[in-house]
Symmetry: C2
Subunit: 465 residues, 2 copies
């Protein structure tokens, strides 16, 4: 086999970094389950027709083909030849919609699920953007109707999930399709989609070119374009009274029924978020991405210091996730880009794992004839939930301690010939007598944790210089 | 969108069944971590050349193609055009070997990893056999050498992982390549691969046809064929003294150095397994599958009552998982077929989850104006790790209790207008006063669990009749 090399866009982490991804994924699951979301795993493939939907997708889909077409496999009762072409899913929403329509008769609505899986997009890789990546989604799906309060709930769960991680502060930016649509209609612009597409480019091309596009594409007068820009410029401060936001938007002098409805909803989302996760949420009328398909609240989330990479957690309300005949399934959901988030945190050296292995204790082996006794010690520790491994060889103790040190294992256990036991914290050097049936590590040492990265010695040197 | 339908070979579980798969997967991870195995996630794709290896694979590989070849994506610095074709991995061993050689300079050996991921094979689907399925693998990889005791360890970890699940008893069948090879060489048969291929068919085609194949393909005399069949017939009873096994094989009168080495190793694996997980392991000389590529211990594992589906957990020792130039990475690993195991348990109605959602408590909503108070109760319960959801609407209490009952949520929480709190166990009907800051469910109710399936009422009726 020739020497393999990394594939651009298909990230893999070395153990220390994978520990970060794994612990973050586990923490997200725990928050989702604490809020009663049930795990779902869908298949990775869908018929291409399902992925293409109504043909509007701009996603680069990976199709599948079998390298060796075996008539023995294709023939017979599997009906494989008649099967449509298959592709890998590019998000977790399309499979959810298909799963819900396929199994509507067996699900209890509102159906609350979380799903943490890979998705694939054949796009050009760049920092924070991959061809294979993991998303963590939560959605609440109703049958026929879905109460507005779930729009608050989903935002709260996502904000709590992210805020509980040992990462820099997050900023959740909230907007509302009804509000935006009501405003633009109130201004007199009926081609709301074109307005939204133009406003979405604000950060990228600036207000002058957005105004030009509003005139050229959405039929806006220069006064109307100015109103749109003034509206897109509205954002609230964290923790601000939603009444101030309402006043600011009202001061623009536009009136429309949908605008009022949207304002009421936006205020409720901000109030709910502020109560549950203070200081995280703001209203931001420049958030336009997604307003084309979302029908109510829209969320985007940035991490402090990583704003230039834009949102790591987005979603919103959609009135029809799926339909069967006349039966409609509205939903609200949000998706955390796990790979994107973790890769940005790691490349920014913002987080690190306390160790690269789950092991809390390494049992040192004095001599290969003692391995049975060492296994017994390890078994006693594991029986009480302490992750333990036995040293791979009866090397000199210095080498066995190095084995632990290299992996970040905090404790080394020693047996002496007389049957005594001692455990050493190799960070402090403290060594004490211990009983494998009763000794416990401090709670923070039992399992690896993720925390803010400490500067490496070379970084420290650079900073000192 | 036309009504979607299930794709043969791409299983998906409804919430109650997914809960079983999820809880089993989490339990496996916990056992692996308790033994110091670190999580690894590899990309799902490999260059086709890596998957095909030395051309010996008989796996049906899914290749990838991008549905819309976009020159803007392909061109430029991504170098995509020059990239080899990609395929989905068909197991977790090939990616591990590639990962180890690619990152050998950054890994600490022996490298202990577990990996729970989907794999894909374009084979004909049948019961317990899928096109997309999850495997849970553990491996220990050495650099240059790897001590034999890891062959005991890996078997023990897998047996403990399976034995700790609420499933019927398992039977781990162990053999050893050195033992088998030594025996067949000692008999005078040098084409060991052909002997192994013939013996592997024993259960399928019976001893007479195996003898015929040994004569035709492996150049055996009828006496030699008879010796091979006598050897393949040797198996130990659970818990039997390995000395009896040794005596039985010695009584066949064949002598070879490798045979002795293999017997010593096999006895050590059996002794280690018996000590750690009593009654699970037996020696079985008819286990021949995998002996073609494994170089030491070989494992297969069946579940009581599901023997006809053969092994759900297999593996062994390989002297060269991978090589870089003259550097060799020996390993020992074992793979649990999670989807296979779960699907067989579910279709045999052998297991079920205590509930289909993580939720332990549903907070009933007396009136929509009380939702804020209900959210506060839920927050207090969640702060102490109790999975809680708030009822989706202020329906009649009977309907809210049915909401909990349908999902298996055991507790419903009631607020009264005076500010009092009560919690009802909807299984027993018992209702007590409770404080959201101090009340705890019994430990077994806090999270869903998997247990032996209770007969459904229709099954119970059948049994009674």
């Amino acid at each position: 086999m020739s020497r393999p090399r990394a594939l651009s866009g298909f990230p893999e982490w070395l153990p220390a970094d994978r520990a970060v991804e794994h612990l973050i994924t586990v923490a997200l699951s725990q928050t989702f389950e604490l809020h009663g979301f049930a795990s779902l795993r869908t298949r990775s493939v869908e018929p291409v027709g399902v992925l293409l939907g109504n043909g509007e997708t701009d996603k680069e889909i990976y199709g599948l083909n079998r390298l060796r077409e075996d008539p023995d496999v294709d023939g017979g009762d599997s009906g494989d030849r008649a099967e449509p072409g298959l592709g890998l899913h590019f998000d977790l929403t399309v499979p959810l919609a298909r799963f819900v329509t396929e199994n509507a008769g067996h699900l209890h609505f509102p159906y609350r699920r979380y799903q943490i899986q890979q998705v694939w997009r054949g796009e050009r890789p760049q920092e924070g953007r991959f061809r294979e990546f993991v998303q963590a989604d939560i959605d609440v799906i109703g049958d026929g109707s879905l109460a507005f309060h779930h729009e608050v709930e989903v935002a709260v769960v996502a904000a709590q999930a992210l805020a509980s991680l040992p990462i820099p502060p997050i900023r959740m930016r909230v907007n509302n399709r009804k509000l935006a649509e009501g405003f633009y209609l109130g201004v007199g612009l009926v081609d709301v989609s074109s307005v939204l597409r133009a406003v979405d480019k604000l950060a990228k091309i600036g207000p002058d070119r957005v105004a030009a596009e509003l005139t050229a594409r959405a039929g806006a007068t220069s006064e109307q374009a100015e109103m749109c820009l003034a509206f897109a410029d509205v954002r609230s401060d964290p923790g601000a009274d939603p009444a101030r936001l309402l006043a600011e938007i009202e001061s623009l002098g536009v009136r429309h029924e949908r605008l009022d409805e949207g304002l009421t909803e936006l205020a409720a989302v901000l109030t709910g978020l502020e109560k549950a996760v203070p200081g995280v949420a703001i209203a931001d009328m420049s958030v336009a991405r997604g307003l084309g398909y979302y029908t109510g609240t829209v969320y985007e989330t940035e991490v402090a210091g990583l704003e230039r990479f834009r949102s790591v957690c987005s979603g919103g309300r959609y009135d029809s996730l799926a339909t069967i005949g006349g039966r409609r399934f509205p939903g609200v959901g949000i998706s955390i880009g796990v790979t994107r988030l973790v890769s940005l945190l790691l490349s920014g050296r913002l987080v690190q794992a306390s160790r690269e292995v789950p092991t809390c204790v390494l049992v040192a082996v004095p001599d290969e004839t003692d391995r049975g006794r060492c296994d017994a010690v390890a078994g006693a520790l594991r029986a009480r939930g302490i992750p333990t491994e036995v040293a791979p060889s009866a090397a000199k103790f210095g080498k066995q301690i190095r084995h632990a040190d290299r992996r970040g294992i905090p404790y080394v256990w020693f047996l002496d010939p007389a049957g005594g036991h001692e455990v050493k914290d190799i960070r402090s050097g403290e060594q004490i007598s211990a009983n494998p049936d009763t000794w416990n590590p401090p709670p923070q040492d039992r399992h690896p944790t993720v925390g803010a990265a400490k500067p490496t010695s070379s970084q420290a040197t650079e900073e000192t210089l």
